[in-house]
């Protein structure tokens, strides 16, 4: 049965979308094209799933990112086969001043995992107030990070990416690199409530992409940003570091999701310790920051 295709967007937007999608397929190669076309679609006759993800739009949007993935950051992945089918929470360290690490993890799951899997990640609650960004995020499958959204996605057997460090992680200074910030507990509640395995993920390389020397806190407050890092390039432009993404063994937890915090804290600490040791191990095995 031929998959129902959404009507192509008219005009310049449609041309750009088609061009970028071809870029994605060109970068990915013929094999990836056939795999991506076969990604399970939950879309309706307008090409979107109930959350507003549009796979054709996503395939176009990732074109430039896939170029960075292949040729700029030259991402290497380890242990992708450990990610189980069905519902799963990918829990990763967060770093690099600008959140490229999430996109790179998502691309690794979409272009290198077999079968390819779109990763849904959770965006901050103010993202829907941003014009264009809000639409872009929604069409690429990113949803507002409410617990109900996460539960619904996990119950649909989707893969969800979370950064329990939040902005504390991404805005770390260079001297604090690869030391995990405190973890939030939300992901553990979700894992327990939906019976989802947790796959620890360690991203090596992103910490060096834009080393932050100082964080100008008053300026950050003034601009209502989580941090205002000063990097050697002034703006946090990413350097061509090599990314290494390590996927760990799935961890399964049992217990009540509304347990007291001490019990949750213990489980969260367990995940954090595993990720920290994966980060340390990944750093030891890395030969060079850029190669």
């Amino acid at each position: 049965m031929p998959a129902m295709r959404a009507k192509r967007r008219p005009g310049v937007g449609g041309l750009v979308q088609d061009g970028l999608r071809d870029l994605t397929f060109w970068l990915g190669g013929a094999e990836i094209e056939s795999r991506l076309r076969a990604v399970a679609r939950r879309a309706n006759e307008y090409g979107v799933d109930p959350f507003g993800m549009d796979l054709d739009y996503t395939l176009a949007a990732i074109g430039p990112l896939l170029w960075m993935y292949k040729h700029y950051f030259r991402v290497q992945t380890y242990g992708l086969e450990k990610v189980p089918q069905g519902r799963v929470l990918l829990v990763s360290n967060h770093s690099g001043q600008i959140p490229i690490d999430g996109a790179m993890i998502g691309l690794s799951m979409l272009t290198e995992a077999d079968p390819p899997r779109p990763v849904r990640s959770m965006v901050e609650r103010w993202v829907p107030t941003l014009p264009y960004v809000s639409t872009f995020m929604a069409r690429c499958g990113q949803v507002v990070g409410t617990p109900q959204n996460c539960i619904k996605l996990l119950e649909n057997d989707e893969a969800i990416l979370v950064f329990p460090e939040g902005t504390r992680g991404i805005s770390k200074l260079f001297v604090q690199r690869y030391q995990l910030a405190p973890f939030g507990q939300g992901f553990m509640r979700l894992a327990l409530e939906t019976g989802s395995p947790v796959v620890p993920v360690a991203v090596i390389g992103a910490e060096e992409q834009a080393p932050a020397l100082v964080d100008v806190k008053p300026l950050a407050r003034l601009l209502k940003m989580p941090a205002f890092p000063i990097t050697p390039t002034l703006l946090p432009l990413p350097l061509p570091v090599r990314y290494h993404i390590h996927f760990g063994e799935p961890m399964r937890f049992t217990g009540r999701h509304d347990d007291d915090d001490t019990e949750l804290t213990r489980k969260v600490a367990e995940v954090r310790a595993v990720i920290q040791s994966m980060v340390n191990e990944g750093l030891r095995s890395r030969k060079h920051v850029f190669f």
Binding site: E45, Y46, T135, N149
Partner: protein
């Protein structure tokens, strides 16, 4: 009269949705229609009383009419009518209708509320469930009476457990004869959109809403139910389906501009409506599906297209 079968009373029967409901139930149930507006073209065997629900004559119908069930959909929304008039008719009218049910042994009450009472908001979860707070009036004061109606009906559930009460909160109702904000908006040839915003929207065909109200009459059904139609669609895709040519307006100027246009009577959309084309106000209808087996009859495409009276969209 005494020999007659117990009847289903319908408030607001003369409206376009009310007439569709009457058509659906006519022949299956004895209907007692209540509306202060006339019902032109009324079938001879359809019992409609042109009275105001707040008046004593309306209570008489409940006293004598052997009414087993009430479907309360006599809610007006006219952006040009004052807030006071809205409250007088909608809130007071609902309070009276609930009172009659409790006093005259009505067994079943179905109140037609709306998913709009949750209110669009950037932090909304994608699928609001029935227990989500009703926040619509926080940013859109004109809708306060509708929130009030819903809350009155909710407290009635607790105060009068002997009356089986169902509150239905359907998504935007559309259809060839429907005249609400959503249908008016979708009928515009060059509708405004907010630049860079394209929220998912949910629509339901008027005939499906009528079927949902009939389903709510099922004995044993009680409580609050979200009613979702055939699914979710980006606003832009719905407008493309209707071959509209949207005019994107930057959101920062749209609100003051629409406010001015509304006051000058150049637009019939109060500025509060803009949130519905900027943010999500989509709901989770799984409870109605799971507990009562709800399934809409109209497809998503047919539902969207239904705003154009058939054929006219080809002109």
């Amino acid at each position: 009269m005494a020999a007659q079968a117990p009847a289903v009373a319908i408030t607001g029967i003369s409206g376009n949705l009310g007439r569709a409901l009457a058509k659906l139930l006519h022949g299956h149930e004895r209907i007692v229609g209540i509306d202060r507006r006339p019902f032109p073209g009324r079938p001879k065997d359809l019992d409609v009383h042109q009275v105001d629900i707040r008046k004593r004559a309306a209570e008489e119908l409940f006293r004598k009419g052997q009414i087993k069930a009430l479907i309360h959909m006599g809610i007006m929304h006219d952006p040009r009518m004052s807030a006071e008039e809205h409250h007088q008719f909608n809130v007071l009218g609902t309070a009276k209708a609930l009172e009659y049910c409790a006093r005259h042994g009505v067994e079943k009450l179905v109140v037609l509320s709306s998913a709009n009472v949750y209110g669009p908001h950037p932090t909304n979860t994608n699928f609001l469930t029935e227990d989500a707070p009703l926040m619509a009036a926080a940013r859109f004061g004109e809708i306060r009476d509708l929130v009030e109606v819903d809350i009155l009906a909710q407290s009635f559930i607790w105060k009068h457990p002997e009356v089986e009460t169902v509150i239905l909160r359907p998504v935007h109702v559309v259809g060839p004869t429907i005249r609400n904000a959503a249908s008016h908006y979708l009928r515009l040839r060059r509708p405004w959109t907010l630049m860079g915003f394209d929220p998912m929207v949910q629509l339901i065909h008027m005939e499906d809403v009528c079927r949902a109200m009939a389903l709510a009459l099922t004995p044993g059904a009680r409580g609050v139910y979200n009613v979702v139609g055939p699914g979710e669609v980006p606003l832009s895709a719905a407008l493309a389906e209707l071959e509209r040519r949207p005019t994107p307006i930057p959101h920062l100027v749209a609100r003051p501009l629409l406010d001015r246009l509304f006051k000058l009577r150049l637009s019939d959309f109060p500025p509060g409506e803009l949130d519905y084309i900027q943010y999500l106000c989509t709901i989770d209808g799984s409870r109605f599906v799971k507990e009562l087996g709800w399934k809409p009859a109209h497809s998503l495409r047919a539902t969207i297209r239904s705003v154009d009276p058939s054929g006219l969209n080809l002109v």
